[in-house]
């Protein structure tokens, strides 16, 4: 499969995964912000939870695929940055999101 077609499919597939996760995340944000946030409240919900670990783990992986491909389109079309440079920079950005995201999920779930 040509690279542009693979990126197009990966962008759409990750969007389909992200859509319900974002919906739940937004609902949780509106619920959790009520009365202010505290570390104790957040960690009580997430620590040791395999469910939240899988939920946010999947969220991170899908976002790490989705965001760099979207940025690549913007950089290519708006700034004219094409070729190997933009691909390497955005692959690095994807890895950064993956590493920081998995670290964050591990921090709040303890898993």
């Amino acid at each position: 499969m040509p690279v542009p077609a693979a990126l197009f499919l990966a962008q759409r597939a990750s969007a389909l995964v992200l859509a319900p996760l974002v919906l739940i995340h937004l609902g949780l944000a509106i619920y959790a912000i009520h009365g202010g946030l505290s570390a104790a409240e957040i960690l009580a919900r997430t620590q040791g939870s395999l469910g939240w670990s899988l939920f946010y783990g999947l969220f991170v992986v899908a976002a790490a695929v989705h965001a760099p491909i979207g940025l690549r389109n913007v950089l290519r079309e708006w700034l004219g940055w094409k070729g190997v440079g933009v691909n390497l920079a955005l692959a690095a950005f994807g890895v950064l999101l993956l590493v920081l995201g998995i670290r964050a999920v591990s921090a709040v779930t303890g898993i």
Partner: protein, 115 residues
Amino acid sequence: MLGPRSQHHKGRYAALAHRLSGVLLAVFLPFHFLTLGLAIEGAARLDGFLAWSDQPLVKIAEWGLVTLLSVHLLAGLRVLALEFLPWRSARKGWITAGGVIAAATGLAFLASALA
């Protein structure tokens, strides 16, 4: 009722909103992960950040992020529908409805934060 030209302009605005919200969310995401990662250093470290974030300007920024995420989600669903679904007639009011739903989501977050 909107004519085809006006509908076309709305489509361009929706595409622009989708892109700009996506870029801003992508820039925000590493910082969001770094903040949550503070929990590795203990609950007190995370609480320190949360106490700092409990100020009006940060709440406004959080409202902006929630609204941006809603805009990106709804505009993204529109793109998926345009590309993969045959429901041409069902798309007519989607952009306006999406804008209203995104604004309502942002306001619901703000109301919950201030309650």
